[in-house]
């Protein structure tokens, strides 16, 4: 495959060399850590805030409303104003709450999503870490979040929080299986768990096309299961407003509440990025086999836009789910996972293994 996509690792290497030439190795390393941390913090805040805005706008349009439109043009600064409001709010400490755990819980939740975002390849060579077990790492790290949710529910000393957290625990633990197995299907196809290798393997077509039916089934299952894993509607039993006021974050206020809120939206972003990376080629432009002319045209769009486009599309799909489907009951939720998604997924994995063994997919 001869195509010329700008490799961001040349830029990052140049910065690295320049820092090492001007500073001592230790300070160069520290500076790099600070730069990466700052960049991620800023990206995290901006993306999180604008996802909240996007959610409110999508919801409004679906419900024939206008949505936020007062702060700035089209209400673009609404969520920033909301954040400032949250920053100035009092942090209420609950009587007889487990103070340490109560304060730690939001940080666990937000650290989980921070760790997951580190492994996402935004463009060629543009990622913080490129593990050779990237998919496994994402799975492992994203399930730390549920620990934070359980701790938040337990330590708040409130029945709503506890019920919400318990529901969330049952839900995330069950749906993690489906997410893992759906990701495993592409791992079987590409023969690697490294996210950059998975993307490189999609240079002649995305896995959702190359893997035809089984890959589509895996993609749909991944979308459903990951929607459940990030506690979003129609699987938002953990914070079912009408029954549990707000679930596990009922007792939180101010910036601690904002942490839960932001991390929920960032988890949606991470899940959409992962789905885009694994099934839709991440930053890889749309290539069809050996159609050189077509592939060349597609290469003109920079990979970061391909990545963002796919991610935004998937985020829209997840929001679309939330504002269309009614919330499931807890027994329906577990039935869906254990009686439908998991068996289908297992059969699908077997089928994929067979297809790969026989070479019956588009290589």
């Amino acid at each position: 495959m001869a195509f010329n996509i700008y490799d961001f690792s040349t830029t990052t290497k140049a910065v690295d060399e320049w820092l090492k030439a001007t500073l001592s190795p230790t300070w160069a390393f520290v500076t790099e850590l600070v730069i990466v941390g700052l960049v991620f913090l800023i990206v995290y805040a901006i993306v999180g805030l604008y996802l909240v805005y996007a959610e409110r706008k999508v919801c409004a349009f679906i419900q024939n409303r206008v949505g936020p439109n007062r702060v700035g043009k089209w209400g673009l600064f609404q969520t920033i104003a909301d954040l400032i409001k949250l920053l100035m709010k009092e942090l209420v400490t609950i009587k007889r709450a487990d103070k340490l755990l109560f304060n730690v819980a939001p940080f666990i939740v937000i650290i989980a999503s921070f760790m997951a975002i580190a492994a996402i390849p935004f463009a060629k060579g543009l990622h913080a870490v490129d593990f050779n077990i990237g998919v496994f790492y994402m799975m492992a790290v994203s399930s730390i979040g549920v620990v934070g949710i359980l701790i938040a529910g337990w330590s708040s000393n409130s029945k709503y929080s506890l019920i919400g957290a318990m529901r969330s625990g049952a839900q995330v633990v069950s749906y993690e299986l489906s997410v893992g197995l759906a990701l495993l299907s592409v791992v079987i196809f590409s023969g690697s768990m490294q996210l950059s290798t998975i993307i490189e393997s999609q240079a002649n077509g995305w896995w959702i096309f190359k893997g035809h039916l089984p890959a589509i089934v895996a993609f749909v299952i991944f979308l459903i299961a990951s929607t459940a894993e990030i506690n979003r509607g129609p699987f938002d039993l953990a914070e079912a407003e009408s029954e549990l006021t707000a679930g596990f974050h009922t007792e939180y206020s101010g910036i601690k509440f904002a942490f839960f809120f932001l991390s929920e939206f960032m988890n949606m972003f991470i899940v959409a990025s992962l789905a885009a990376t694994v099934f839709l080629g991440g930053w890889m432009p749309l290539h069809i086999g050996n159609l050189e002319a077509f592939n060349r045209v597609m290469d003109f769009i920079p990979p970061i836009f391909w990545y963002l486009g796919k991610t935004v599309f998937l985020i829209y799909v997840i929001m679309w789910f939330k504002w269309t489907f009614p919330r499931l009951r807890i027994d329906q939720l577990l039935t869906l996972e254990w009686k439908y998604l998991l068996p289908i997924n297992l059969v699908n994995i077997l089928l994929i293994a067979f297809l790969v063994l026989m070479g019956w997919y588009f290589k």
């Binding site: 999508v58 349009f61 024939n64 206008v66 679309w320």
Partner: protein, 179 residues
């Protein structure tokens, strides 16, 4: 039997996908048709805002172009008001036959207490009351929310005496025991 359950399992899946897709299409249609938004952008469209006929803004006493209304001061609206928002003050004046006749002096309406239930409008036997579309009621002085509904100098509109008059009276008598 086992065969049936297998068929049911897969048909359930396809039925679920079909119905979910149907729902997605409805919401997706609204998402791509922002022209269908029904929200009124209120302060901006204040000049050409058209309220709906059935909107309950406030209770009004309908006056015609001759400054005449239909209220004879019977007080049924006052009796029917569940929270005492209406006070009727009547006066008696001699009519042309020399008998004293009841007329309305002040129809006092406490907007601050009104819940817009509409019982006064419904129960008015002479259809004198109605709902107006005015809704910008915010004031700085609570006294301003107490309104006198009959305009100064207004008079009761005299219905020309018709031979049909006994008929409605008859039905009213009949319907009374039912109440």
């Amino acid at each position: 039997m086992p065969m049936n359950s297998v068929v049911k399992y897969f048909s359930d899946i396809f039925k679920a996908i079909k119905s979910l897709w149907k729902g997605l299409m409805v919401t997706g249609y609204y998402f791509v048709h922002p022209r269908q938004i029904v929200t009124q952008q209120y302060p901006e469209n204040r000049k050409n805002l058209q309220m709906f006929d059935r909107f309950k803004g406030e209770v009004i006493l309908v006056h015609d172009e001759n400054n005449q209304h239909k209220c004879n001061g019977c007080g049924i609206c006052q009796l029917n008001c569940p929270n005492g928002s209406i006070e009727i003050i009547t006066d008696s004046v001699p009519n042309e036959d020399g008998k004293s006749e009841r007329i309305i002096d002040k129809h006092i309406y406490h907007l601050s207490m009104c819940t817009f239930c509409g019982l006064c409008v419904k129960s008015c036997p002479s259809n004198a009351l109605a709902f107006g579309q005015e809704f910008e009621h915010a004031v700085f002085d609570r006294q301003k929310l107490t309104k006198v509904l009959n305009k100064p100098g207004s008079k009761i509109k005299k219905e020309p005496k018709e031979p049909k008059a006994p008929k409605p009276a008859e039905t009213e008598v009949k319907s009374n025991p039912a109440n």
